[in-house]
């Protein structure tokens, strides 16, 4: 069907493509050189052309909604700190025919094999340098060539297991590698998210469009990682630098998707030459790490001594063959731009064949002939640091384009080449192909590059049928347009044949087994515990502030002692309502809650995360607007409803795994402590009139109290309901019962030894409350109880969370 588009809906498609004019001299993904639509695009374009603007906007919004709901974000660093940026999806995917893709994949596979051999040589015999294929100086000056790893043989037999390649299409239509990503390539998870969103945008086209599915690639790699354990019962972990890294969302997402533990270096410990993760149940062996952290930060003992992210002894464990690192430490050496100048020759020398997939033409200026060539062709050169691992279009002030420096106040490029030639490379300024993007309702050509992923499995390298496309912001087809921003898009590899729908789940083999959820790292447990505490602390603060503002509205600021008493009480907790009706301290509680959740994104449902983010955002929003009195009280009611929504999600929907228990325990400890503080402040002999009511109100027990004690109410009735009643979910007794029960479950019966410190303290406190009468719960007793709770918290931390 050469001309399918014109046959079926000629007018609509023609109209739709009317304004689409690729710049001259570049390849275009959508249109052939003769201006006709490429057949592989026809179904998608027909669909888009047939849509009215409103229908299209609704479809695009479905994709955006998906991204919003799942909370996909990217951390972007700017001059003043970093911000989480919304995901810039370009809704129209890049469509590539399966046959063409197969050819690209062949080139990728060859290149992956080649890189493996280069790395094995650089960390082994060094023959490439000895035989003159690679200058010694370039290797020795490469900051990612990690000398402590020289001579270390990877346990798996391979250095490289997961790679990415930045490819672009040159004007003659052939593919070109712009950069090899070998250190810790990101983007595969984002590619998956782009697919989810785009398939929602085109939910009526996608199922029938024969688009190759991505799940099979991930399943293959997951199985490969599990296989690298070499049959042991140890675990596979994903090693992340933590939540402050730009791609942390992806690390958490991939960990959840593949079912691996997300680990930070401080979760890990090297003991007796082997690697283990600190979990709430003790140290558990880990033998495979998918590393998303740059090599040199991995071990402060043998690598970068200033690294705060590393695990001391990691290199030693690798040397001892106690673990497989994906990719092996030191793999960043292959990313240096200068290597691309030598790879074509190395390929021929090592394999006897040329590169199937060429890379961007590169000249190392440390050689006189090459330097002269760069000098004589300045106009079409990008000149930059030889050891830089940045992609050609990620230019900065240290790069010259066409003989001009990008930064100011630099000497002439010619001087620069002569003086520092051995630290510089020239790379041909490439022109990229364009692909359609919807810009203000019109289809427009935009330059693009695609990140392609390759994974090593037991059967060899596999290439993900699809990828992570980046789309330039303007129509300028030079590689320059790719820097700073732009959009991302899905890549559809479409086949003539129907494709098989795949999911991550492998075909069941053997009888069904219920798998217990994975071990919980102590750091994750600690964050969940404090998430529980902070949310509860926030809720309690909101209740007290509402009580204050209601009374302020009713009595005015200084008319009754109770209002002053309340204000003083709140100030004691950092919640002084005088300067701001919605005090900064309260916002800090919400931010701290969100901060804890951010560190355990892999263990947290998307709905829960969204609810928490919404809560924090609402609080910040209300802070600027709420007026003292009734207005602020109403704002507090809004926040309380949202907190209840979050708690409902957590407690109704969250699986009762270990992490949930720590969250629940944190909440119970905090609720007990807050209640003890409230009772001490509002049931004392000298509390101003109306104090009992405040206690009952903050304890959310107004109805129960009224119903039960309608005739007589006094201190004893309040204490009975809020401290001693085992059935009131706000009472002290209820929290301690809950703590007793949940703490006991942290260690399942077969492993359960004698009562630990935390269990003992909980039991003591709970027993004391169980036998107490209201008159015994004095201010002093409540203060003692708060000290007990602090000791319980410390004991829990020592026993499980550190």
């Amino acid at each position: 069907m050469q001309d399918g588009a014109k046959v079926s809906a000629p007018d609509a498609v023609q109209r739709f493509l009317q304004g689409y004019r690729p710049p001259p001299g570049v390849a275009d993904e959508l249109l052939q050189r003769d201006g006709r639509l490429r057949p592989v695009w026809a179904p998608l374009i027909r669909h888009l052309a047939a849509q009215g603007p409103e229908t299209r906007a609704r479809a695009f919004a479905r994709g955006d909604q998906y991204l919003h709901d799942t909370g996909v974000y990217f951390r972007q660093y700017t001059g003043d700190g970093s911000t989480e940026r919304n995901w810039p999806l370009s809704h129209v995917p890049v469509v590539i025919a399966a046959q063409e893709w197969a050819q690209l994949a062949e080139g990728i596979t060859q290149r992956a094999e080649l890189l493996e051999r280069v790395m094995a040589d650089l960390y082994g015999p060094g023959a490439l340098v000895r035989d003159g294929h690679l200058p010694a100086d370039l290797v020795a000056r490469n900051p990612e060539w990690l000398r402590p790893l020289v001579g270390v043989k990877p346990r798996s037999g391979h250095y490289l297991h997961f790679l990415a390649f930045e490819v672009g299409r040159s004007p003659n239509g052939s593919w070109l590698v712009l950069g090899d990503r070998t250190q810790a390539p990101s983007g595969a998870g984002f590619a998956l998210e782009n697919r989810m969103a785009t398939s929602r945008v085109f939910h009526d086209v996608y199922p029938g469009a024969n688009v190759e599915r991505l799940a099979g690639f991930f399943r293959g790699f997951r199985d490969a990682l599990n296989g690298l354990r070499q049959g042991s019962e140890s675990r596979v972990g994903i090693l992340t630098p933590g939540q402050h890294t730009d791609t942390y969302y992806e690390h958490a997402y991939i960990a959840r998707y593949l079912g691996f533990m997300l680990l930070e270096c401080e979760d890990l410990i090297v003991r007796d030459g082997a690697l283990a993760v600190r979990t709430v149940g003790g140290a558990e062996p880990v033998s495979v790490l998918w590393r998303r952290l740059d090599s040199r930060f991995a071990d402060p003992l043998e690598l970068d001594e200033t690294s705060a992210l590393g695990t001391p002894g990691m290199v030693s464990a690798l040397r001892a063959g106690a673990l497989t690192m994906v990719n092996c430490l030191g793999s960043g050496v292959l990313e240096a731009r200068a290597l691309q100048a030598f790879l074509p020759r190395i390929c021929r020398a090592l394999t006897g064949a040329p590169l199937k997939l060429p890379n961007i033409a590169t000249w190392w200026c440390g050689q006189p002939r090459e330097r002269a060539y760069v000098r004589d062709n300045l106009e079409r050169m990008m000149i930059g640091p030889a050891q830089s691992t940045k992609l050609p279009f990620d230019m900065d002030a240290t790069t010259a384009l066409g003989g001009r420096f990008r930064g100011a106040a630099q000497p002439s490029v010619l001087d620069w080449l002569e003086r520092e030639g051995d630290t510089l490379v020239g790379q041909e300024a490439v022109t990229l192909s364009t692909t359609p993007a919807m810009v203000e309702g019109q289809l427009r050509p935009r330059p693009m590059v695609i990140r392609v992923f390759a994974a090593r499995t037991a059967e060899g390298w596999t290439v993900m049928p699809g990828g992570y496309a980046r789309i330039g912001q303007s129509g300028d087809p030079t590689a320059l347009a790719m820097q700073a921003g732009g959009a991302v898009a899905d890549v559809w590899v479409t086949s003539d044949q129907p494709v098989q729908a795949e999911t991550l789940a492998a075909a069941p083999a053997g009888p069904f087994l219920r798998r217990q959820p994975g071990q919980l790292p102590a750091r994750a447990a600690d964050n969940l515990y404090w998430l529980g505490r902070y949310v509860e602390r926030a809720e309690n603060g909101v209740r007290q502030l509402r009580a204050y503002h209601l009374r302020l509205e009713e009595y005015g600021p200084r008319a009754v002692p109770l209002v002053t008493h309340l204000a003083r009480f709140l100030a004691g907790f950092g919640l002084d309502p005088a300067p701001h009706p919605l005090p900064r301290g309260l916002l800090a509680h919400f931010d701290a809650s969100r901060g804890c959740a951010a560190k355990v994104r892999d263990r947290f449902s998307t709905d829960g995360w969204n609810a928490l983010s919404d809560l924090a955002a609402t609080a910040h929003d209300l802070q600027g607007r709420a007026q003292p009195g009734d207005d602020a009280a109403r704002a507090m009611s809004v926040l309380l409803r949202k907190i209840a929504g979050f708690s409902g999600l957590v407690h109704d929907n969250m699986f009762r795994f270990l992490g949930w228990r720590f969250l629940t325990i944190g909440r119970a400890v905090e609720r007990a402590d807050q209640m003890a503080a409230t009772l001490a402040a509002f049931t004392a002999r000298d509390t101003p009139r109306g104090g009992f009511d405040v206690a009952v109100e903050v304890g959310d027990s107004v109805m129960t109290h009224r119903r039960r004690y309608s005739v007589e109410s006094g201190r004893d009735t309040v204490i009975d309901l809020l401290a001693l009643d085992p059935d009131n979910p706000r009472s002290l007794r209820f929290q301690l019962d809950l703590l007793l029960e949940e703490e006991a479950r942290l260690q399942p019966p077969p492993d359960r030894g004698p009562l630990g410190e935390a269990g003992r303290r909980i039991l003591l406190a709970r027993t004391g409350l169980a036998v107490a009468t209201p008159d015994q719960i004095t201010g002093a007793r409540l203060a003692a109880l708060r000290r007990d709770l602090a000791a319980i918290s410390d004991a829990l931390t020592a026993q499980y969370l550190s």
């Binding site: 340098v129 200058p135 020795a140 003992l301 043998e302 001594e305």
Partner: protein
């Protein structure tokens, strides 16, 4: 006639609050290499570690990796042993001229441990510095041999610096010490390495010992009461590596005993460790090098 030395190195840490479980990498065992032989020697820690592995690093330095499970309030690392050192040979200047040096380095297709290529570029603790580079260029003439250039830089730096143990610490960057014109052997060695690299002379960092008491009639050298640091420079294929001690402005000869050699202090630090403690700690450091 070679000279034998009995050597003790003792480094202790005292912690105000117990330090958590720790892992430490020691480079305290002297090298065996041309002109120097380790006759006997042992590296120990007290309390004894729960785990230990002895190995050799990229540059051929002996390493001892140890781990302690228990919390420690005090730990002592020591080396005890005997080293045989060849006396100065009164070396002839076999080095080539500076322009030829670059060609000789470039002709070496080698990234093994002894290759000068490792010692030309910036290293973690010795980044290039324009002020030091300018100082270096002012020290040398166009017709100098590489060895003469090394000696000229040593002499100039010796004059530039005042020995002052209070001016810097182990983490002071060379550029800062150079500006302050004060420091100890580590600072002078690192500044000199930076200077030589700027001239295109491959240069590395040596940690080691000096004999404690000088032979009769010679002055006591600076740096004899603790671990010392000096410089090795590659002066061409014929001359190879030569040792030079800018702190005392002298060739590193029979009184200098090499422990470890690398690109800068990070490669040779006698102790690299993860002893983390909330409180403060005190370190003491004691060296005895007795001729026998």
């Amino acid at each position: 006639m070679p000279q034998d030395y009995d050597i003790t190195l003792k480094i202790s840490y005292l912690y105000d609050s117990p330090a958590a479980a720790s892992r430490t990498l020691l480079r305290m065992l002297p090298r065996t290499e041309p002109g120097q032989q380790l006759l006997a020697g042992v590296v120990t820690a007290d309390p004894a570690p729960g785990w230990r592995r002895d190995d050799t690093d990229f540059f051929g330095n002996a390493t001892t990796e140890i781990a302690h499970e228990a919390r420690l309030t005090r730990i002592v690392f020591r080396f005890d042993g005997r080293v045989r050192r060849a006396l100065d040979s009164g070396a002839l200047d076999l080095s080539c001229g500076l322009p030829a040096l670059a060609q000789q380095v470039a002709a070496l297709r080698d990234i093994g441990a002894a290759s000068p290529h490792h010692f030309l570029g910036a290293s973690p603790r010795i980044p290039a510095d324009p002020a030091i580079a300018a100082f270096a260029r002012a020290c040398v003439g166009p017709d100098m041999s590489a060895q003469a250039a090394v000696q000229a830089v040593s002499r100039a730096l010796h004059g530039h610096f005042t020995f002052d143990p209070t001016a810097t610490d182990v983490a002071t960057p060379p550029a800062q010490a150079f500006r302050a014109r004060r420091g100890v052997c580590q600072d002078m060695a690192q500044v000199m390495i930076c200077a030589l690299r700027a001239l295109g002379i491959p240069a590395g960092y040596v940690s080691g010992f000096l004999r404690t008491l000088p032979p009769k009639g010679r002055p006591r050298l600076e740096g004899a009461d603790a671990m010392h640091a000096w410089v090795r420079a590659w002066c061409g294929a014929d001359a190879g590596w030569i040792g030079i001690d800018p702190t005392n402005d002298m060739a590193a000869g029979g009184d200098h005993i090499t422990v470890a050699f690398g690109r800068d202090y990070a490669d040779v630090a006698p102790i690299r460790g993860a002893l983390r403690s909330a409180g403060r700690h005190r370190t003491t450091h004691q060296v005895d090098v007795i001729p026998v």
